[in-house]
Amino acid sequence: MSLYQVQKLIRQVNRNPADRESFKSDRASFSERFELTPEEREAVIALDMGALYAMGVHALLLRPFTILHGVSEPDYLDAIRAHRAEAP
């Protein structure tokens, strides 16, 4: 059920302004509130969109999350498509 926790983190950042501020000011400590795998924690802290997409984070959680972090649509699409291209 770990994907559940990383999606829960992203959803809270998307919809709760206080959580959004906490996350933006210290991603690592905000991430401690959730039961994440090391890979998930790393991807969240690095805002690694390709890795988050590849692990199955729902696109309608991920895209709003990246809009809130100022990521343009072309940059977002490049990131998730590049990750797909790398997949075996």
């Binding site: 559940y4 919809r15 729902h58 959680l61 699409l77």
Partner: protein, 273 residues
Amino acid sequence: MTLEFACAVSHAPGTTAWTEAAPKETVERIHSGYRRLRDRLAAAEPDVVLAFTNEHWNNFFLDHMPAFCIGRGAHFAGPVEVWLKVEKAKVPGDPELAQALIDSCYAAGFDVSYSDELALDHGTMVPLHFLTPEMDVPVVPLFTNALVAPMPTPARCYALGAALGQALANSEKRVALVATGGLSHWPGEAEHGRIDRAFDDRFVSDMVEDRADRLRGYTHEDIARSGTGTHEVRNWILLRGAIPGWRGEVVTYEEVPAWATGYGLLAFDKAGA
């Protein structure tokens, strides 16, 4: 019969949030289509809008995912998205009608969820922004899960729409039906921007021509092949179930890659029923 108006409209956030990304002529045709629908809705003088809609993780999550949920609140806040470029509003609800519909659903064998506090996101706010821009017509939202499988089957959606249509026949209120979402799109996915014109043409034709058997017969996989966001056409199927025999008309159809969607505006006229 107190159903006075029905339409089905796409709700892509780009419609308001990044309007200028689409060609000017496309935007004008869509705005013009919305104006026609708004005029027809106003002429119908509805007491309330029943919105067949869906939401995008703003109320429901994997801790609890209802198949269908009717909003019974006295009002609904929206939009959730700070970037949507739609003014924040407190949209009035109609708890009395919502309760009557919930009771009708249970009596008809549909044990729907209900909620007294729901937020509206672009899925409902973009259509309202164009159709009832003053946000002064009360809204009862019916949310259908179009996000994660399993989702209600099209056949179940059609049947629920039919039950609601029958329930509203006994209502004293003048009701406008607005279905939102679709058509083919893959929002935020690697396929973002792709549009399945063949699906859109087929589905719109089934809606306009009132082909109930075909609408009921779509499978989850039929829809999934044409886009992750395309599951929202369940809202349109609900609408068709509520208005058998109404004459359908395509007001506008546009492929809008800049908003990553096949964009449809359909009107329905009960004169045909």
